[in-house]
Amino acid sequence: MKARIIESENVMKIVDLLMEKYEVIAPFSGLGRDSFFERVTDENKHLIKLHIPNPYYPPKRFVFPHIERMMRIRAGKDKIDIEPEYNVKPLAIFGIRSCDVAGIGHLDRFFLGGKYRDCYYEIRRKSLFLVNMVCSMPGVDITDECFCLCADTGPAARELFDLQLMDIGDVYLVVAGSMAGEEFLRDPIFKKATQEHVDRRRAILSEVRKQFKDTTSWFSATVRYVSQGAVLEKTWEEIGNRCLECGGCTYVCPACTCFTVSDRKSANGEVERVRIWDSCALGGFTRMAGGFNPRKAVHDRRNRRFYRKLAHYFIQRELSMACVGCGRCAAVCHGDVGMPAVVEMIRRATVQVEAK
């Protein structure tokens, strides 16, 4: 790893460099805890903030938009034209956190793996440049809900980024994770790092790792219980009872992939076929024409979501758990059945059974 450094006061120059080639997305701070990813312009550039809580609305939408037009359909007198629409604009995300990088890694394996490749995702992903920011400030970058340590995705991503930044005091340590990243590091704003810088990075990281809550380190046991079907129906019901069926957890999840497809008529007589994020928390998710719904009760659907994320079968299939430990579901859930709480509930309930 050829490490480079850049002075803290120069770190935003990276954004200028990116803007020469890419449309740039970066994190900004709102009121209170609020933070968000937004397109960078010359007007808002000075407001970019690297040390803020990770935005609730994940950067997933820049590769897999909330609503995406797939094709336009024009029906003429005796001809129907179908024109697919692809987004080929090169995009860079500056300051994406390690959990969200892992989320994109999961989407890569899901949308591009298996028998069929999703071309809409593939085209966006190919022109995406990721500048990962390592979380190093407990209480600011790292919140109470964070459990990337337990999902093994952070606080410093090990792969899939093009560049990785870490604040080590007066300077940022920068490493490249791809050829494009290496190319980028040739710019004279980056200077060679010394052994002292690399040691400092390691020392800070090992200190930061101690700052996470400890109640979330039960993932592996939970994966085992869920995979073996050892979770009691009663436990799923309890989780289901707490779920308000709002779908919030799935909309903020960087690793959720479900979508629905809808035809919309536009004013000029054209039809646009769009895909929209969908949620397994919603009652109609599996309802078929005619009304039959194989997944009725809410605890069935909760079971479904956590099975999909935690069952060994799927982890093997996608080579990663569909949970990256970002903690967003825990932050937005009104019923307190986000991933960490569910992991804990399953672990406790199953422990009680074993103890009997």
């Binding site: 179908i82 697919p84 692809y86 479900c258 497809v261 069952a311 799927f314």
Partner: protein
């Protein structure tokens, strides 16, 4: 057509509706062909038990099983008007255009079943997906052992594919038994659920070296499975095809995921042993 478009798994191909035939109440068969003959050629390599996604432009897309056997010349769908999309298809007239993409799913492994006896048990419109394998097996008669068909509907008027049924009843080397839940005027045949046919005098359901295909409404499915298991069928030799709400057909949209399977890519054909493990209502 550029390379990107070629690889777009969501892009429907234009199909033209040739003619429409009424089957039973609310169920019609739609004969169609692709506008592009090359597409027709490609599509015709489907397997019995596979399905396709039908697009009614401006309304939506839905999955439908393929009732024709790949050995038949014409391509068609048999569809019950039950929701927005299927109702829109029912309103279409010959000559009108819609979209089709596929075929998708695993299909029945008919080549693996060669040398075996085949028992088909269908209820109501459950005959639609099984029709494909029945015709396929008849066309390849020498590759299979005994062929037995058990089919039931609520009333005589609700028996599907009437022409095929009377042909199968007459055809040598095939046993075809029909039943209805409620007889109406003129019905001479059996009255009772499909399972009642198994115990009829003179009927001997083949069990040894036999594959049972089961498709029908959930209640029929449960009872028939019970009967077949009692007769001595192993769970691996009972196969069925599942239907689920689907948006993509290619394992991406997530709607048809049950247990550890995506019905669209891992199914829709599953053995009863697999279905039991999925853990959802059928």
């Amino acid at each position: 057509m550029n390379e990107k478009t070629e690889k777009n798994i969501y892009l429907p191909k234009i199909a033209i509706l040739d003619r429409v035939v009424d089957e039973i109440k609310d169920v019609r068969t739609f004969y169609w062909h692709f506008e592009d003959p090359a597409e027709q050629e490609k599509f015709k390599r489907f397997l019995p038990g596979q399905f396709a996604q039908i697009s009614i432009f401006g309304v939506g897309e839905f999955p439908a099983s393929l009732p024709p056997s790949p050995t038949e010349k014409e391509t068609f769908f048999t569809i019950r008007a039950v929701g927005t999309c299927t109702e829109a298809l029912h309103r279409m007239k010959p000559g009108e255009k819609f979209g089709v993409r596929g075929p998708y799913g695993n299909g029945f492994p008919m080549d693996k079943y060669e040398g075996k006896n085949l028992v088909f048990v269908a209820g109501g419109i459950g005959l639609i997906p099984l029709r494909s394998c029945i015709i396929y097996a008849i066309e390849n008669r020498d590759k299979y052992g005994k062929i037995q068909i058990f089919y039931g509907a609520r009333t005589p008027a609700e028996l599907m594919y009437r022409e095929n049924l009377s042909q199968w009843e007459k055809q040598a080397g095939i046993e075809c038994y029909l039943t209805v839940d409620r007889a109406t005027d003129g019905w001479q045949g059996n009255v009772g659920v499909v399972g009642s046919l198994f115990k009829k005098p003179g009927v001997k359901v083949s069990v040894e070296n036999t594959i049972a295909f089961v498709c029908g409404p959930p209640i029929m499915f449960r009872f028939v499975i019970k009967d077949l298991l009692e007769m001595g069928f192993s769970e691996d030799n009972i196969v069925s095809t599942l239907e689920r709400y689907m948006k993509c057909g290619v394992g991406k949209c997530g709607h048809c995921c049950i247990g550890s399977a995506y019905v669209c890519v891992d199914g829709p054909v599953f053995t009863y042993r697999q279905i039991k493990k999925l853990g959802e209502d059928i």
